[in-house]
Symmetry: C2
């Protein structure tokens, strides 16, 4: 697979703009004061399906050939990517099949089904997921749309930064969370082409710091039993995303579980918007690393807003923070 | 006191626009589908101090004479009006004194203090509040800014509808919650002048339906021990607001406590924005009264977003819904 280029991000934007929201960019005086910086929040929590994932999924689905489109798409996901792919396939009028571990959160399950996706259950763990997906693809001829290690997906995710850079001039830095790396790769490709002077940072839970360790080691390391509330960030990097990160990401900074939950609550309380723990990781990073961000103009990509309102993290932080029922390395 | 006119709303807008946010107007396809209507949400939950109350308070404070401004302002409030008045006074560089019942919520107390307001404690109940406030005013010469029965406050609250009508054309109806009636009065005055064809509705908890009963009886009735989670809507109407409502509000519709909590949760889940129970009352009304709103273009004023994230109503609905520690007839 070829690395996506900036032209692919532009093409993705043209391809998906009729389907996805152009989300607003918000500011907050209190957050600015606490960070000692000027922050612009690109609010993908307001996006269709509640997360930026719809951008990449829609770009991939609407890039299919006619024959591919007839047969449909498949993926494995315990999170937002499955729902996004189901929604995108439904827009195109084709099928989506999502392999999910039996212990996936009920809300994620319902999301896939509500967009018309078919769920195929598997045992938890990546091996069972991959095997189940292979079996489906062999039988059905469906096209696999990987959650992040796919040039079309990466290009699609890059459209969020494209819009942010159109909305806000003169940024010094952009930060986005990193799990499998689709979003940060697309973001980095967009920035490198439009405003190469912008420093691109990735934010990661300290409890799932495989991307930071990979960047330092020079090769992809697997997450070491990632125990984080940021369930969207438990995947390891892909070959494509790692190449882009090495080339274009200035640094990867980490935050503690406590910092993630505090940042999430702070945004709810002061900005009155609902963001999910994985999205709070980037906000937490700006607050926790003043040496990097103070006095700078920073774009923050707020990745999603899908939370279980019956299980808020400040009610359960004294329990196991990763007790979300998701298997590790969700990546979806 | 004279009833405010539309010119007063326009003047208020000019007076306060440098201080308050021009809040966004949002839409939501899911809410539209559920309501069978087209809805535009004027998001005062994103407003300064988290509620529309800052509009009226700022208009009142910045309308003071020089001598009045020197002496400061005072009010009683167990809710958002106290915080709003403290913030407005701080912008003007004068003092605000807020009489609060000893059982006021800690979050409300902190809000007043964080904006530099001075709190004077009193026993719960309107009599103690009024006595305490009178004593302070007699001693200090401060100007009382009533939470709603004040022409400047009413005119200020009307600026939210003014902006909504600038943003969205062709509305058939506007709905806002009614407690003491400041917001709905200002809204009705703005609509009557700009687009008299728009039907103005007020929404009220069935458990605090004194405004509906007052409108039908033709005179102001006191709330009958209002036991509602919508703590901002427990006040009875004022003489001024009742006059405006009689003249310009088409009807007052009520919703149950269950409908309030469901609507609040629905907005959190689907719109990803945080609204408080009093704000959810208007959303619930649109969903609960299809005979009134179906197939119409409806503006909904989302009044505020100040909630205690440690005590969400869907966690406590099986307990007493009004157990918020506020005394009845808060009005603030």
């Amino acid at each position: 697979m070829l690395l996506p280029m900036f032209d692919d991000v532009r093409a993705a934007h043209d391809r998906i703009r009729a389907y996805v929201h152009r989300t607003p960019t918000l500011t907050c005086a209190t957050l600015d004061r606490l960070a000692g910086a000027r922050l612009w929040f690109k609010c993908e929590n307001f996006q269709k399906v509640g997360a930026f994932k719809i951008r990449g999924a829609t770009n991939a689905v609407f890039s299919l050939t006619k024959d591919e489109a007839r047969l449909g798409v498949a993926t494995h996901s315990s999170g937002n990517h499955g729902a996004a792919l189901a929604q995108a396939a439904s827009w195109l009028g084709t099928k989506a099949c999502v392999v999910m571990p039996r212990n996936a959160l009920r809300a994620k399950r319902h999301a896939v089904q509500s967009y018309g996706g078919e769920i195929v259950w598997c045992d938890p763990g990546m091996e069972a997921r991959n095997e189940t997906l292979s079996r489906i693809v062999d039988r059905s001829g469906m096209t696999v749309v990987h959650p992040f290690n796919d040039p079309k997906v990466i290009a699609g995710q890059g459209t969020a930064a494209l819009e942010l850079l159109e909305d806000v001039g003169g940024l010094d830095a952009i930060i986005a969370p990193v799990g499998g790396g689709g979003l940060i790769s697309g973001t980095a490709i967009a920035c490198a082409a439009i405003s190469p002077e912008i420093a691109v940072y990735a934010a990661e839970p300290a409890n799932a710091d495989d991307a930071q360790r990979s960047l330092r080691a020079g090769h992809i390391l697997e997450p070491d039993n990632p125990d984080t509330i940021a369930d969207g960030l438990r995947a390891s990097l892909g070959t494509l995303t790692f190449e882009v990160i090495k080339a274009h990401v200035k640094d990867i900074v980490t935050v503690s579980e406590t910092e993630i939950v505090s940042a999430m609550r702070l945004v709810w309380e002061r900005m009155k918007i609902i963001i999910e723990p994985s999205a709070a990781v980037a906000v937490a990073a700006v607050l926790a690393h003043p040496a990097v961000f103070r006095d700078r103009r920073v774009g923050v990509i707020v990745t999603g807003g899908n939370v279980d309102l019956d299980r808020l993290p400040w009610q359960t932080t004294d329990q196991a923070p990763a007790a979300g029922g998701d298997s590790p390395r969700a990546g979806g």
